[in-house]
Amino acid sequence: MRPFNASLLSLRARIPGLGTSTCPLYTSTRRFAQVANVQDIPTEDDKPFTVPIADTSFETYHFDPPTYSVKTTKSQLKQLFRDMTTIRRMELTADGLYKQRKIRGFCHLSIGQEAVSVGIEHAITREDKLITAYRSHGNTLMRGGTIKSILGELLGRRDGIAHGKGGSMHMYAKSFFGGNGIVGTSVPLGTGIAFAQQYDQTGNITVNLYGDGAANQGQVHEAFNMAKLWNLPVIFGCENNKYGMGTSVERASASTEYYKRGQYIPGLKVDGMDVLAVLAAMRHGREWVKAGKGPLVYEYATYRFAGHSMSDPGTAYRTREELQTERSNDPISNLKSKLIDWGIMTEDEARAVDKEVRGMVSREVEAAEQMPVPEPRWDVLFEDIYVPGSEPDQRRGRTVDETVY
């Protein structure tokens, strides 16, 4: 931590934009990964090759950036496209179900932010852990939840991923700790998960996601302190979609450079609209953390195309021009045009993937709508408050007559 102080000034001098309020990643034209030499792309689907990443993809804080390239395969590139398309389609379906009044309560969509959850998942393993806040559908899918179990949960069905008990913000899977509804609280939880990994010497890492709004919560900084103090294997990841609900980052944060907010923790700002940049950054960070070098604070510069939640049209606090500009950075269409440019997919193949995903999601939503709702029985209502076998003798209903013994 000490050597960093000495190098801070020189870092600022070397990297234009560092320490100033203008963020290159938020300029209207982002540069995406380019393939320098198209002939180098192998014909085989599984043969690795290297794709360069735009030199504006990263900004560093006491941290060496990843190499501006990422090793991948044609099949992985196609899978990245398919995964992002699937999340988008699933979220749009949820949007439709909500508008049909089939989904209740809160529903926060990640349309526009797909590159973050997909890029992360492709860089980590199922033994690595992940926790996030309430915008969690995409992460749940990437961690192994099925589309029908996620949509089933949104519909409040018995066979939903949390059996209709959690809803939009509370979904869990192996190595996935939710889905947390209270802004900021998941960050100490994720730090504890990393603590357990260190305690059990698993050699794995925890990806600890939160939003730009949560970044100002005191307990985020409490978690930073302990993570660095105890050298925990955690990557804090601030998904900066520029608005905490309807409050822009500039109106909420004295410093909007979230990757520097770890102060004594090295940081990296990543173009969160470029799935390949996210992939490269996460692989790099994972190796760093796994090597026992301590935590990192990442910031994914991204954008939420939809409103904060379903009740927010998302237009009162941002301009039409801003939305249009950001939409031109759509992570999915950008990756698609690259893949087509590079000859990895044809336009027709891309359309076919899209069509296939649409069909698949609509079959899943059909299956979800077929799922039974939880039976309105006391044993169903009261199950799982406590671990089976350790329940209290009685649980009280609304009246004394409804008490279950």
Binding site: D159, G164, L189, Y199, D379, Y386, P388, G389, V400
Partner: protein, 376 residues
């Protein structure tokens, strides 16, 4: 994970990974050691005087010894040996991996403990006092207590929160509050409140072993008090069942339900009632606030026909309010007089000694209220 759950909860019990391993003694109702029920009020041979502090220390040491997933963290628990010396010697014995000093950062380290529990460890999270846990209560309630339910039963959280609760001597308002009612109202939590050394050891061990989040509300004023501890309770397999109250003093004329330090005051008051008026008061030590042993309370009420609850928490919406309400629901026809309560006064705890005494039940407060209830 999304398998049909048509046959729950019976099949759940069979298939549950937790239930498939032998049930821990703390939960199997039939496993409540018979000596717990049979034992009288400290007179057996082989008993030893043990302070509440040492009983808690013993419980921690024994559980750290047998369960590698257990560790304790909190402010000053390691090198300083605990602000109240409850963790004395544990660092030397178990090392810094298992006994961890945290920064002063309640929301942070409490959240970290809960996260570690979600990831499969069995943390013991010490709050220097529960007054400080207010900074972390969101993690206790929203993250620890609710997650198992919200996840549809796939994400347990075996964490124990412990520390002194209630008022201490002369520390004024911010350090003198009873949180029994706060935590006792939350589904998903279990809450225990020991009075004696046996309570302290048996309940803390049960809390650590329980697969749910458990809040252990100790009492600073009790730490230094010595109680006789039976031979059985001195053993490392001694565990008390959570959810069972203990009749500390049998009686036929009046039921006094109490918890924590007020149990001792109630016992003294009961002796005085006997001496002064020849009245036999039954004193029930709740031990567990959630789940509450309604059965024992109501059975006693049915026997005596009169109920008084004694606690040091605020009067409004408190433990005693709840027990009085339960007595209406389950025992109204058996009450021969309105049930009454003796509680802390509705005031932030004052500093000056005389005023502090007025803010909490004293033995004569209990005696006088009982005499009034019994029309003596």
């Amino acid at each position: 994970m999304a398998a049909p759950r048509l046959f729950r909860p019976a099949t759940r019990l069979l298939s549950s990974r937790l239930a498939s391993s032998p049930l821990r003694p703390a939960f199997a109702k039939s496993c409540a050691p018979s000596f717990v029920r049979a034992r009288g009020y400290a007179s057996e041979s082989g008993t030893k005087e043990v302070t509440v502090r040492d009983a808690l220390n013993e419980a921690l040491a024994e559980e750290l010894e047998i369960n590698q997933k257990t560790f304790i963290l909190g402010e000053e628990v390691a090198q300083y040996n605990g602000a109240y010396k409850v963790t004395r010697g544990l660092l030397d014995r178990f090392g810094p991996k298992r006994v961890i000093d945290t920064p002063i950062t309640e929301a942070g380290f409490c959240g970290l403990a809960v996260g570690a529990a979600l990831a499969g460890l069995h943390p013991i999270c010490e709050f220097m006092t529960f007054n400080f846990a207010m900074q972390a209560i969101d993690q206790i309630i929203n993250s620890a207590a609710k997650t198992h339910y919200m996840s549809g039963g796939i994400q347990p959280c075996n964490v124990t929160f412990r520390g002194p609760n209630g008022f201490a001597a002369g520390v004024a308002a911010q350090h003198s509050q009873d949180y029994s009612a706060w935590y006792g109202s939350i589904p998903g939590l279990k809450v225990v409140s020991p009075w004696s050394s046996e309570d302290a050891k048996g309940l803390l061990k049960a809390a650590i072993r329980d697969p749910n989040p458990v809040v252990v509300l100790e009492n600073e004023l009790m730490y230094g008090q010595a109680f006789p501890m039976s031979e059985a309770a001195q053993k490392s397999d001694f565990v008390l069942p959570i959810g069972k109250a203990k009749i500390e003093r049998p009686g036929k004329d009046l039921t006094i339900v109490s918890l924590s330090r007020c149990v001792g005051q109630s016992l003294t008051a009961a002796s005085e009632l006997k001496q002064k008026y020849g009245v036999d008061a039954e004193v029930i030590n709740l031990r567990s606030i959630k789940p509450l042993d309604v059965e024992t309370i109501i059975a006693s009420l049915k026997k005596t026909g009169r109920l008084m609850v004694v606690e040091s928490g605020y009067p409004m919406f408190g433990v005693s309010s709840e027990i009085l309400a339960l007595s209406m629901e389950y025992g109204f026809d058996y009450l021969t007089a309105p049930a009454v309560r003796v509680t802390g006064a509705e005031v932030p705890t004052p500093y000056a000694h005389g005023l502090e005494n007025m803010a909490f039940p004293q033995e004569d407060t209990i005696v006088n209220q009982a005499a009034k209830l019994l029309r003596l």
